[in-house]
């Protein structure tokens, strides 16, 4: 059992939960995730570990509650427990000092981006963070991210905050500016966003890393549900990832497999929202 130490609402449907998980806290590296199962009968959900405090024995998770399962997780009260927390899983992010890096986040992916931004800043990189969403309420973790970013940019589709349009707008300007062009780009968000970022950086040959969110069941290198095509090879996101070279990822295949349970998810609001509830909530 893993006690909920704190549970804060940061924005609509966005919770910051701190769990007591001493062993995970000690072993955790940026980029890794945990598999969470709230109670018996609930599904196993992969969630990125956003931060950890080894001394306190806690891990921090940013959870966007838009699927039925994540809704029940964030409804857990302080002092109550989550039955299963297993990890840290996946490979750690390869963090080096590139010099200038750009971190691009969209929707739920913004929560996954946070530990990367923090680790990249701590490694001495000059970080430009660009996050996007439909409208102001979907822009999450602004304070947390800007704290570790040299430049912090926002794009909303309705123009209610920052630039009007997609994250690709500000990113395009960055890539076109010889003074500011990054040596590496990290992108986490909906598949079309990651795909668009990959296409933009491919032309300039800028190293680009994406964190993938395929369907996952056990997360421990056993079931094979999280397979993705990387170049000509089949890789498993839980053991080989979740981060991959964006220029090798078969985004069309990934995107298609994510719709496998759309019929079962019809009760949820939108297919994209539901991804979080189907083992893809990292």
């Amino acid at each position: 059992m893993f006690e909920v130490v704190s549970n804060e609402i940061l924005a609509e449907n966005l919770h910051k939960m701190v769990l007591s998980a001493p062993r995970v806290a000690l072993a955790r590296k940026p980029g890794q995730f945990v598999m969470i199962r709230l109670a018996k009968g609930e599904e196993r959900i992969p969630l990125t570990i956003s931060d950890a405090d080894p001394a306190a024995g806690t891990i921090t998770l940013f959870i966007q509650a838009i699927g039925a399962s994540t809704r029940r997780i964030v409804d857990t009260k302080v002092g109550d427990s989550i039955r299963d927390v297993a990890g840290p899983l996946g490979k750690e992010t390869h963090i080096i000092k590139w010099g200038r890096v750009a971190c691009v986040g969209g929707g739920v992916g913004t929560a996954v981006l946070f530990p990367l931004v923090k680790a990249l800043a701590e490694a001495g990189n000059q970080v430009t963070t660009i996050i996007g969403g439909r409208s102001t309420p979907q822009i999450i973790l602004s304070d947390e991210l800007s704290q570790f970013s040299d430049t912090f940019l926002v794009a909303t589709e309705d123009g209610s905050l920052g630039t009007k349009g997609f994250v690709t707008g500000p990113l395009g300007e960055l890539l076109a500016d010889p003074e500011r062009v990054p040596q590496a780009v990290f992108a986490v968000g909906p598949v079309p966003m990651m795909r668009a970022v990959a296409e933009m950086t491919r032309k300039q040959g800028i190293e680009t890393i994406v964190s993938l969110n395929p369907i996952m069941i056990d997360g421990t290198g056993m079931c094979g549900g999280c397979r993705v095509k990387i170049g000509t090879e089949t890789k498993f996101a839980c053991v080989d990832g979740p981060e991959f070279d964006a220029h090798l990822v078969d985004f069309a295949g990934l995107s298609d497999r994510l719709t496998s349970y759309r019929k079962e998810e019809a009760v949820c609001q939108t297919a994209n929202d539901c991804k979080i509830g189907r083992g893809v909530g990292k």
Binding site: R23, V24, A27, R37, G41, E42, E43, R44, A68, S69, R83, D84, V85, A86, G87, P88, L89, I217, D218, T220, G221, M222, C223, G224, G225, R227, K229, T234, F236, V239, G253, D256, R257, T259, S260, Y261, E264, E265, G277, R278
Partner: protein, 470 residues
């Protein structure tokens, strides 16, 4: 009651048939198929045993159960003693009595099988084990072992790990099992379906181990949460039994289409996560009218019979050799047939076909014929030119095999592996690191429950020897 029948009287008794649920009834539910022998049948079956002096059957048992002895106690009506003998040799008798391939192990060597039918050792094992579970108050108390003061950590709570843990606890060592998943049993729980091995049986076997003092902690992934190096610091010996890993891909086109499952994913969804078995399970599973399972082993049978229960009207086994060459147990094949499973033999898929929107629509197959025997001794299938045909299927399950789990070994490069990533051990189950032992599928690749248990048992003896010298 005594067991003093003459050989002639014993020979006159016919082999008991296992009572089972009817095929058409059970093919729509997850109830256990084999119902178990009743007391009268068990007694008469036990009396069929000739009590041979040379105990051929024991040699066929990977864990060396004292078969004639437990059967004799049963025939004498002394169930507490029978249970004591059985449990003393086998940490998981209620599991083995259900899933062991007795017909190719103990029963294959039974003298009665030479001229007739072997004693139904598996049925009797199950009978005694189930009796023991239901009569805890009548069991003979085990003498508490002398505490050794040594600690052993077991990585993985599957058949190899549970067996080793039981053996080591009986030898007085303090045993901790670390399990990566959220529940115990390993492949017994996520792999073997409810209708073959009810989860309750695993719970009860595990509870008996806990009574012996074995500590089990779930959600700990060695290689991730803790490393082998940390385990070596904390414990006097380590037994690695973390099982099989990722599925072997078939490397044919279409493997990433929607509706293509690896056997482990399909079975884990249904068995561990209860998808399709419980109305309120929050883990989904894709159900289709036509399901094709590729492979001929027990895992393939488990998948196809599960698919049938999930509502498939046409549940098919697609196998490149013939029925005789199938590695699956005879009982599984028989049960599958009774449940309406279709066997598409001598057929190799060459591609998985899909619809425009990325869903599986079927298999492109080639007919095969059997040629000369290959290295495995089985006749090698060869494609018949021009024999391509299409087999419609809305779900395709790859049950051709699994590789080694990479999580532990990736963070312990000092452990020697073979070219497939399996851990290399010596005759004493020792790995290349002192004090670290291994067994089960992480050593063998995909094998059976009982072979993993045999590994657990012999590793426990080796670990005990190591700890005594230490």
């Amino acid at each position: 009651m005594s067991n003093t029948l003459s050989a002639k009287e014993r020979l006159a008794i016919g082999r008991a048939a296992m009572p089972e649920l009817k095929g058409d009834e059970r093919s729509r539910n997850f109830e256990e198929v084999n119902l178990g022998l009743g007391a009268d049948l068990a007694l008469s079956e036990a009396r069929r045993c000739l009590q041979c002096k040379n105990r051929a059957c024991v040699a066929g048992c990977p864990v060396g159960v004292s078969i004639p002895e437990f059967i004799d106690a049963l025939a004498c009506g002394d169930l507490p003693r029978s249970a004591q003998i059985l449990r003393g040799d086998n940490a998981l008798p209620a599991v083995c009595g259900r899933v062991c391939p007795q017909e190719s192990q103990c029963e294959a060597l039974c003298v009665r099988g030479i001229k007739g039918e072997a004693v139904a050792i598996g049925y009797l094992e199950r009978y005694v084990a189930d009796w023991a579970m239901n009569h805890p108050d009548q069991l003979l108390r085990e003498k508490a072992p002398k505490v050794s003061g040594k600690s052993v950590v077991v990585v993985g709570c599957g058949p190899a790990g549970l067996t080793a843990a039981g053996e080591l606890a009986r030898l007085g060592h303090a045993v901790t099992i670390f399990e990566a998943l959220h529940d115990t049993g390993g492949v017994l729980r996520y792999g073997i379906p409810e209708f073959r091995l009810p989860k309750e049986i695993i719970d009860r076997e595990v509870a008996l181990l806990s009574e012996l003092g074995v500590t089990i902690e779930c959600n700990i992934i060695i290689g991730k949460t803790l490393t082998v190096a940390q385990l070596r610091d904390e414990f006097d010996a380590v037994f690695i039994a973390n099982g099989a890993g990722l599925p072997t891909m078939m490397n044919i086109p279409g493997e990433n289409l929607k509706g293509v499952y690896a056997a482990n994913e399909f079975l884990t969804r249904v068995n561990l996560m209860e998808a399709g078995r419980r109305e309120d399970s929050s883990t989904p599973i894709i159900k289709r009218r036509e399901v094709a399972v590729i492979g001929g082993g027990n895992t393939a049978m488990d998948c196809v019979r599960t698919a049938r229960r999930l509502g498939a009207e046409r549940a098919m086994i697609v196998y490149r050799r013939g029925e005789l060459e199938m590695p699956a147990r005879a009982e599984e094949i028989k049960h599958a047939k009774e449940e309406g499973v279709e066997f598409v033999m001598l057929t190799a898929p060459t591609a998985i076909l899909g619809t425009e929107d990325g869903w599986v629509s079927g298999l492109n197959c080639q007919k095969m014929e059997l040629g000369a025997p290959d290295q495995s001794g089985r006749r090698k299938p060869q494609a018949i030119a021009g024999s391509d045909f299409e087999l419609p299927a809305g779900v395709v399950i790859n049950a051709v095999g699994t590789g080694a789990n990479p999580l532990l070994t990736a963070t312990a490069p000092e452990i020697a592996l073979n070219k497939w990533g399996n851990i290399v051990i010596d005759a004493e189950a020792a790995t290349s690191i002192p004090g670290v032992f291994a067994g089960g599928d992480i050593v063998r690749g995909g094998a059976t429950v009982i072979l993993a248990m045999g590994d657990g048992k012999s590793a426990a003896a080796a670990i005990d020897g190591y700890l005594k010298k230490k």
